[in-house]
């Protein structure tokens, strides 16, 4: 069973549909037991960092997520919340990844919205995916590049398109909205 973390963030329906299209059954839940028992956990999200963190703390989900031992995939805001700190609402995040989340300087359009290529791929999640392939992004904040970065995207500045540490994986882009390559990445995660 795949569990998707239920919280006050958008875009969860699309993630659930994508997982089901790939032939996996999944449950959207904020139940601690179900999250701990799941084979894999997906931590999606579109929204505002401080609002999301406050909600996770209220529900005790911050500790549950940090202590998960099975493969976990953060998506978009999910990746940002797995970092140390976000400039969005000056938010202390979950601290899995040793990175700070910053706001794009508006030298180009913000949000960074649309398809962009990624490079320097270094993760099992990219099996069957090539350097410079395009994925779909929608975000105004980004995680800095650090030792946990597994792919780089460049928009205004180079930033972490994806990250990985132990059992925690994360992408800034939306695999569930990135056509067949996004499905390939999700499948690679689900097969871990």
């Amino acid at each position: 069973m795949i569990a998707i973390v239920k919280y006050n963030a958008g875009n969860i329906t699309s993630v659930k549909n994508a997982v089901e299209r790939l032939g996996y059954s999944c449950v959207v839940t904020d139940d601690e037991t179900l999250l701990k028992q799941a084979d894999k956990v997906i931590f999606p999200g579109v929204g505002e960092a401080s609002t999301a963190m406050n909600y996770l703390k209220e529900k005790g989900l911050d500790e549950v997520i940090k202590n998960l031992t099975q493969p976990v995939l953060g998506i978009c805001l999910g990746q940002q919340l797995l970092c140390q700190f976000s400039e969005e609402g000056n938010t202390e995040c979950l601290g899995i990844f040793d990175a700070t989340v910053k706001r794009f300087e508006p030298k180009l359009k913000v949000p960074h919205m649309g398809w962009n290529n990624i490079s320097d791929l270094n993760s099992v999640l990219y099996n069957g995916i090539s350097d410079q392939d395009d994925f779909y992004f929608v975000h105004s904040y980004y995680a800095e590049i650090g030792k946990e970065t597994t792919a780089i995207c460049n928009y205004i500045v180079p930033f972490s398109a994806s990250m990985e540490k132990d059992n925690f994986f994360a992408t800034q882009f939306h695999p569930e909205k990135s056509s067949s390559l996004g499905e390939q990445l999700l499948l690679n995660f689900l097969k871990l």
């Binding site: 875009n11 329906t13 579109v46 929204g47 649309g114 939306h174 067949s180 499905e183």
Partner: protein, 250 residues
């Protein structure tokens, strides 16, 4: 590099695609899910669905369509038409739409922009603006272009951004249906006046019109309906043309 987006727009009435789309490949060209899958496989970067029935009793039909689309479609899609309230937007977003677009309702009640943006994030909200040139200036029109507001296009674009729009979809009524190309100057001027992405709409008749759009302006995306629906310019062909012109395309 961020790619320029190509966006087919599908008009929906009572849960069906209208405008007599004809593709040999499709069993049922009126089925929004089937047509959307077709476009998605052919390289569409996003899709826009505009509900032109948009009466209260049809709202549920639209939400059901969005649910089906969300199950099948693996690229982002926007749904618009008749959204009057945060509740209307919520129903469509929870059914799986990535974004909703609002048009007349935003002009009549600008606070709706802030309400939807605050509730679901600015990335979920496209403000659609219909503009028409009167004398030397471009004005905002509402109610399907039937009513002038006397508001300057650039003023409204800035206000929509300030209130929380995540993106603007600008349709030039002077160009719409003409197949003579996009309204480059005003759409670019609007884009330069705001920090959020702008989608140009109205006037696409050939692949060259998209080339021109992306070479002469900073516009993020181009939207069209009939040239795709009648297969005058297949999306894959259009993208090849744009690539040979060195325009960043997926």
């Amino acid at each position: 590099m961020l790619k320029k987006r190509i966006i087919p727009c599908l008009d929906i009435k009572d849960g069906r695609v209208v405008k007599g789309v004809q593709f040999l490949e499709l069993k049922d060209a009126g089925n929004p899910v089937e047509l959307a899958s077709f476009y998605s496989k052919n390289g569409a970067d996003e899709l826009v669905f505009l509900d032109i029935s948009a009466t209260l009793e049809k709202r549920k039909t639209l939400a059901e369509m969005v649910t089906q689309l969300s199950k099948e479609i693996n690229i982002p899609f926007t749904v618009g038409g008749g959204i009057q309230s945060v509740e209307d937007a919520k129903l469509l977003l929870q059914s799986g739409a990535d974004k909703v677009s609002i048009n007349s309702a935003a002009v009549l009640n600008p606070n709706l922009i802030a309400q939807i943006s605050d509730a679901f994030g600015s990335q979920s909200l496209v403000v659609a603006i219909d503009i028409k040139k009167t004398g030397n200036d471009w004005y905002v029109f509402i109610k399907g272009g039937s009513e002038s507001t006397g508001i300057l296009a650039i003023d409204w674009a800035k206000k929509a951004e300030a209130l929380g729009a995540g993106e603007l979809l600008v349709t030039s009524m002077n160009n719409d249906g003409s197949k003579n190309g996009f309204a480059l100057e005003i759409t670019n001027a609007i884009s330069q006046a705001v920090c959020i992405p702008v989608i140009a709409s109205g006037g696409a008749g050939t692949a060259d019109h998209f080339t021109e759009l992306f070479q002469k302006t900073e516009i993020s995306a181009g939207l069209a309906a009939s040239i795709f629906h009648f297969n005058e310019v297949p999306i894959s062909t259009l993208k090849n043309v744009l690539k040979t012109q060195k325009i960043p395309i997926r």
